[in-house]
């Protein structure tokens, strides 16, 4: 890679520790613009922590993160975030449309309430994920897959250039899985960069063009066909994995 080429995300020497225990150790990661990158690794490998560190949600012990050459604080308008579905209480008293409009809160800034424009954007996003029939549905009455699509719609209205998604494929139905894949491809076609924490090794080659193998340290990262090798996987999972192919 030439040094002049821009990087959508650039992580250097990132170390994160909870109390004394390192959860991420000296991570380097360059993500070129326009790729779909999946982060894979065993439980406790620090996948979620890495995403949160990129977003500035956890304070690193050392290291640096840049989004298009600037720190996250300066770039949050161009970054979209899809947290783990299980991280919120779905019994919260609100409906689908309201959750999706939360994606505009950052652009709205303090105190201003969502209006007609936000409503329209939310409706468009819901249509894209096939949830337009559920706008007034109370969120506790959604299936897991529908909840995931609501979160995706919320990220869509953020209209970001770089997306970070935490386990969007976790426990979803086939319809939702297809919807997510279609969305990812559309993102790529529009030159957006997407980083996805992923757990299903079988679909990595089909869905993504880049992969990062992570187990506290970075084992490898790069294009799937070069990086997603049995040797690298063995190193990541420590032989606790049966190989197909």
């Amino acid at each position: 890679m030439q040094p002049s080429e821009p990087k959508a995300i650039e992580v250097t020497d990132l170390t994160v520790a909870y109390q004394d225990k390192p959860v991420l150790w000296d991570i380097d990661l360059d993500v070129p613009p326009g790729v779909l990158l999946s982060i894979v690794g065993p439980n406790g490998a620090g996948k979620t922590t890495l995403i949160k560190a990129i977003l500035g949600l956890v304070r690193p012990a050392a290291g640096n993160v840049l989004i298009y050459d600037k720190p996250y604080d300066a770039q949050r308008r161009i970054v979209g975030y899809v947290p783990q579905r299980g991280s919120v209480d779905w019994d919260f008293p609100t409906n689908v449309l309201d959750v999706v409009m939360m994606g505009r809160y950052g652009a709205l800034g303090w105190v201003r309430r969502p209006g007609k424009k936000e409503h329209e954007l939310a409706m468009q996003a819901l249509e894209k994920v096939g949830m337009e029939a559920y706008t007034t549905r109370q969120i506790s009455q959604l299936s897991g897959g529908q909840q995931q699509r609501v979160f995706l719609a919320r990220a869509l209205v953020q209209d970001a250039t770089v997306y970070l998604m935490d386990e969007p494929f976790q426990g979803v139905d086939a319809t939702t899985e297809r919807a997510i894949v279609t969305l990812l491809q559309e993102f790529r076609a529009n030159g957006k960069t997407v980083v996805v924490v992923h757990h299903d090794l079988q679909t990595v080659t089909d869905y993504f063009d880049w992969v990062m193998l992570l187990n506290i340290r970075r084992i490898a990262s790069g294009p799937v066909d070069e990086t997603f090798t049995p040797d690298n996987l063995r190193e990541t999972y420590g032989g606790r994995i049966a190989f197909m192919k």
Binding site: L55, S87, D89, V99, V111, Q138, Q158
Partner: protein, 305 residues
């Protein structure tokens, strides 16, 4: 007729007391919604208990029983207690519930010691400080109502101004932080609003049971609606209702502490809501269950024929 004559005797004092109770019920009901949705119901309990020594110290330092001064003392102590809980959780390996219990009982114990000491001194002015334990709405005067109305009004206005930000904080704190809202500051703001709601209720409801005024109306309101706006509104109404009915009962019957009476009224509202609210209520759920079973049975009968 006997009852009616009681009602016509709603004299000026009782009216003041009822207005005060309605105001504090409204404020604590509305703000309690956030505590319940954040699963911080017990934080309210800790704050109200932790506020007790603040009242005693404020009195010892100033010798005054001006409501604003006592409320300020209570608020500072309640705040320190909350900060202490959060610091214990952050800096040690002690879990949230244990930190809560430690701070609650230590502050409360300290408060009781101070109150006993004040009573021993025989200061003629001390009478009435013990009402902060179980509440005595009958002691509410015009100036107290003014304090409750003013501070409570400010708290509610702040809640409405930052409606969108607080909603996002409670629903999805990580996302709120990712789009640039200072969640630590919003957290502090929300906790401060809770502290205000609690210390305003200490005189009428008392430290021991004040947290029920935060939790009960919100729990009842959640049963009736799936919308935050309506939930806050209903919780405020339920809080006001329980406050007024409770104070009237406790003021007409002699020597019944107000706190427990208000809390019992709120409990009745909660009980009715849990049983009879549409969709979430137990009775409704039972009916739906049986209807499902019956339709399933006819369907399988038809299949087996």
């Amino acid at each position: 007729m006997e009852n009616l004559s009681v009602l016509t005797h709603l004299d000026y004092t009782l009216m003041i007391v009822a207005i005060g109770a309605a105001l504090l019920g409204t404020v604590s009901g509305a703000l309690g919604t956030y505590a319940v949705l954040r699963r911080q119901s017990l934080l309210g309990d800790a704050i109200s208990h932790a506020a007790l020594p603040g009242i005693a110290i404020a009195f010892l330092l100033t010798g005054s029983k001006t409501p604003l001064i006592l409320v300020l003392g209570a608020a500072i102590a309640g705040w320190l207690g909350t900060l202490l809980i959060l610091s214990i959780v952050r800096l040690t390996r002690i879990k949230y519930d244990s930190a809560l219990a430690i701070v609650l009982s230590t502050f409360f114990g300290f408060g009781l010691v101070l109150h006993t000491l004040i009573q021993r001194t025989g200061n003629a002015n001390q009478a009435g400080l013990d009402t902060f334990l179980f509440g005595q709405a009958a002691t509410i005067l015009e100036r107290d109502v003014l304090t409750i109305g003013l501070l409570g009004g400010v708290a509610l206005i702040i809640m409405l101004v930052f409606w969108k930000e607080l909603k996002l904080l409670v629903f999805d704190e990580g996302f709120a932080a990712s789009i640039g809202f200072p969640t630590r500051a919003l957290d502090i703001l929300l906790t401060s609003l809770l502290v205000i709601a609690i210390v305003l209720g200490l005189q009428a409801v008392g430290a021991v049971l004040m947290s029920a005024m935060l939790v009960a109306p919100a729990v009842a309101a959640r049963q009736w609606t799936n919308r935050l706006r309506l939930m806050v509104f209903l919780a405020a109404c339920f809080g006001a209702f329980a406050g007024v009915i409770g104070t009237i009962i406790s003021s007409t019957a002699s020597r019944i502490p107000t706190g427990p009476t208000i809390v019992l009224c709120a409990t009745v509202v909660v009980g009715i809501s849990i049983a009879f609210a549409p969709n979430r209520g137990l009775v409704w759920e039972r009916i739906r269950h049986q209807r499902n079973r019956r339709s399933l049975k006819t369907a399988t009968d038809r299949l087996l024929k």
